[in-house]
C-alpha cells in the first residue's frame, strides 16, 4: 500500500469516526429531550398544584377567617415582610404570601427530582408586572421549578386579589 492509499484510508477513518460521533451525539440529545419533555410536563403539573393550593388560602394574614380590612391596604402585611410567618411550615401555610417562602425538593412519579421555589410581591391592577413597595389588593405569586433534567428553570405566576363577601 502506497503512501497515497494510506492517506485516503486515514481520511476515510477520520470521516467515519466523525460521522459516528455525530450520530451518537444525536442519539443522546434525542433521549435527553424525551426525558426533558416528561420532566417539563410533570413540572407544570407540580407548579399548578402549588398555585391552586395557594388559591385556597387567605389573601393575607390579616384576612384569615374572612376578616374585613377596616383600615384598607394599610392593614395588609408590609411588602418587606411578605413570606412565611414564624412557626409556619409547609403544608401548614395560612395565606397566599406564605408561598413566597416556599422552598421544596420534590420527587415526581417519574423519579425525577424537582426544586420548587416561591416568590411573592404586591402588584397594581394598572401594572401587574412591576413589584410594588407598598401594599395593594393584588399579590403576585411566582413559582419556579427546576430540575437536572430540564435545560432551564420554568416560572409560572398567578395574581391573587383580595375580595370580601360582606
Amino acid at each position: 500500500m502506497g503512501r497515497t492509499e494510506m492517506l485516503i484510508l486515514l481520511g476515510a477513518i477520520a470521516i467515519f469516526g466523525r460521522f459516528t460521533l455525530t450520530i451518537n451525539h444525536s442519539r443522546y440529545t434525542n433521549e435527553f429531550w424525551i426525558i426533558q419533555t416528561e420532566a417539563q410536563s410533570n413540572a407544570s403539573a407540580l407548579v399548578a398544584q402549588y398555585l391552586d393550593e395557594a388559591a385556597q388560602r387567605a389573601f393575607d394574614e390579616a384576612t384569615i377567617d374572612g376578616a374585613f380590612l377596616s383600615g384598607g391596604t394599610a392593614d395588609l402585611t408590609a411588602s418587606s415582610l411578605l413570606g412565611v410567618e414564624s412557626g409556619e411550615t409547609y403544608p401548614n401555610f395560612d395565606d397566599v404570601d406564605d408561598y413566597g417562602s416556599l422552598s421544596l425538593t420534590v420527587t415526581g412519579a417519574n423519579g425525577i427530582t424537582y426544586q420548587i421555589q416561591g416568590r411573592v410581591c404586591y402588584v397594581s391592577s394598572a401594572d401587574p408586572t412591576t413589584p410594588q413597595t407598598t401594599q395593594t389588593y393584588y399579590k403576585k405569586l411566582t413559582i419556579t421549578v427546576s430540575s437536572e433534567f430540564m435545560t432551564s428553570s420554568h416560572a409560572f405566576s398567578r395574581i391573587f386579589s383580595y375580595y370580601h363577601v360582606g
Partner: protein, 183 residues
C-alpha cells in the same frame, strides 16, 4: 494473481459498510423507542387532562357530601355533569392487568369511567393509578367530607414491546375541585 492490496481494500470497505449498517440500525431502533416514549407521554397527558376535567367537577351542583367512595385506584363521586339540575354519579377505576390479555404488556390495565352505572373502558395502558386525598391543610385524609384536593399519580406503558423496550411515562398532579372549596 494474488492482489493483496485489492483484497485489503475490499476488506476495509466491508468493515466500513458493516459499521454503517450497524449505526443505521441503532438509529432506527432509537427512533422507534423514542417514538414509543413520546406515544406514552402523549397518552398519559391525555388521560391526565380527562381526569383533571372530571375530578375538577366533583360536587358541582351537589348539596351534601360529594365523594361517595374513595380508594387507592378507584373513586366515586357526585357531580352535575350536564348541568341539568340532577347530580350524576361518576366512577373512575383501574381494571385488572388480566383483563388486557390481548396485549404484549402483562402489566397494562384498562381505565374505566362510569356515569350513572354505565361503565366504559376509556383508556388502555395504565400500569398504575393512585389517588391521594388531602384536607384543607394539605394533610392526607380518609374522611370524604374533609377532602379538598385529590392527588393523582399514574404510569402509562405502551401495549407492545420493541426489541424488549416499552414506551413509558409517568404523571403526577393534584386537582382542587372548586365545589369542594366551599364546604
Amino acid at each position: 494473481m494474488f492482489d493483496a492490496e485489492l483484497i485489503g481494500t475490499y476488506f476495509i470497505a466491508g468493515v466500513f459498510i458493516l459499521a454503517l449498517l450497524n449505526v443505521n440500525e441503532l438509529v432506527m431502533e432509537d427512533n422507534t423507542i423514542n417514538g414509543l416514549n413520546v406515544l406514552a407521554q402523549e397518552s398519559v397527558v391525555d388521560i391526565a387532562d380527562m381526569l383533571l376535567t372530571d375530578l375538577g367537577r366533583i360536587g358541582r351542583g351537589v348539596s351534601g357530601t360529594a365523594i361517595l367512595s374513595m380508594g387507592d385506584s378507584a373513586l366515586t363521586f357526585l357531580a352535575d355533569l350536564d348541568q341539568d339540575g340532577t347530580a350524576d354519579t361518576l366512577t373512575y377505576s383501574l381494571g385488572l392487568a388480566s383483563e388486557a390479555s390481548e396485549t404484549e404488556n402483562p402489566q397494562d390495565c384498562y381505565l374505566y369511567r362510569g356515569v350513572n352505572g354505565n361503565s366504559q373502558d376509556i383508556a388502555l395502558g395504565l400500569t398504575s393509578l393512585h389517588f391521594t386525598y388531602y384536607d384543607i391543610s394539605g394533610i392526607q385524609t380518609s374522611d370524604p367530607t374533609a377532602v379538598r384536593s385529590i392527588g393523582i399519580s399514574m404510569t402509562y406503558q405502551t401495549s407492545y414491546y420493541f426489541e424488549g423496550h416499552l414506551g413509558s411515562a409517568s404523571w403526577q398532579g393534584r386537582v382542587f375541585p372548586k365545589s369542594l372549596q366551599l364546604g
